[in-house]
């Protein structure tokens, strides 16, 4: 069943802050095999002009995806998550995420489309720090594949 177009533009309440831990950044960098010292060595990060270690560019996805859970699990929207695949992903940064950030995400349904029986949902996540400054905007495109013929 096609998703309700009237949900386009709906914005969900900002999430409780997610605190970015330096050991979580290290764990993520090691998991992707990235030895860039800006992720683990405060002095190296400072030498690049950052106040503390920074996170790899895609680190913040897990924070915004969790926030998008508000949309995905919204019973009124009725997305069939068992059929969902990740279509596109985009980030636009005002600055890199760094250790100690307390990040809040505001999710908005940017678009709902139906193509060949697939539901396509675009969710924008605006990520702000504790001071209210913009850090990064993320766009998650989810595709709920059409149910198979019975």
């Amino acid at each position: 069943m096609a998703l309700d177009q009237s949900f386009v533009g709906r914005t969900y309440p900002p999430t409780e802050p997610y605190e970015v831990g330096r050991e979580k950044i290290r764990e993520f960098a090691e998991a992707v095999g990235d030895a860039n010292p800006a992720y683990t060595d405060t002095e190296a990060a400072k030498a690049l002009g950052h106040p503390d270690v920074i996170a790899p560019p895609t680190f913040v996805f897990s924070v915004t995806f969790r926030a998008a859970g508000q949309v995905i699990a919204d019973p009124q929207l009725g997305l069939d998550y068992s059929r969902v695949v990740h279509g596109d992903q985009k980030f636009a940064y005002s600055r890199p995420v760094r250790a100690g950030d307390r990040l809040s995400v505001t999710s908005t349904i940017e678009a709902i489309k139906s193509m060949a029986g697939n539901d396509i949902l675009d969710i924008r996540g605006e990520v702000h720090d504790e001071a209210g400054e913009h850090v990064v905007t993320t766009w998650i495109k989810l595709v709920a594949r059409a149910a198979e013929e019975a």
Binding site: K24, E27, F28, E30, A31, V32, G33, D34, N36, A38, Y39, A47, L48, G49, H50, I54, P56, P57, T58, F61, S62, F65, R66, V85, H86, G87, D88, Q89, K90, F91, A92, Y93, R95, P96, W139
Partner: protein, 142 residues
């Protein structure tokens, strides 16, 4: 932000050093823990096959994380990345053997933009197929 590559030193067509990233089942388990994405299609072969996949597949976000390393290793400063987007076109299939899979990433400067930024277009290939489409980053150079 202090990228080690100068805007004046690059042209449209400048190639970034290509890299290959191996991925096996242990890599995926580790990434699942680090990212919090425990979807069983990334570690449980039986489950993956039941939902119609050929085998366990890598997290799309893992591939996205690897591909941008070609850019961040080039600039030195990962904070130089201003924008980054991809489309997940094909899964990276990761067999349970002693080889796993390989993600081969190449990239080149596609456009010179304002404020010392350039657009880099990335190509990511695994098992002969493009696994990312529309894969582009905007980075600020020195």
């Amino acid at each position: 932000m202090t990228a080690k590559i100068s805007y004046s030193d690059v042209e449209v067509g400048t190639e970034l050093p290509a890299q290959s990233f191996p991925v096996d089942r242990a890599t995926l388990v580790r990434y699942a823990g680090a990212s919090g994405d425990f979807n069983p299609i990334h570690w449980n072969e039986k489950f993956a096959k039941e939902v119609g996949l050929p085998d366990v597949i890598a997290h799309g976000m893992f591939t996205m994380a690897e591909a941008i390393r070609v850019v961040t290793d080039w600039t030195g400063d990962p904070g130089a990345v201003v924008e980054y987007g991809v489309r997940f076109t094909k899964p990276v299939v990761v067999p349970n053997d002693d080889k796993g899979a390989l993600i081969e990433v190449s990239a080149k400067v596609a456009a010179k933009l304002d404020d010392n930024t350039v657009r880099v277009d990335l190509t990511a290939i695994s098992a002969g197929q493009k696994v990312l489409g529309m894969s582009r980053a905007v980075v600020r150079l020195a």
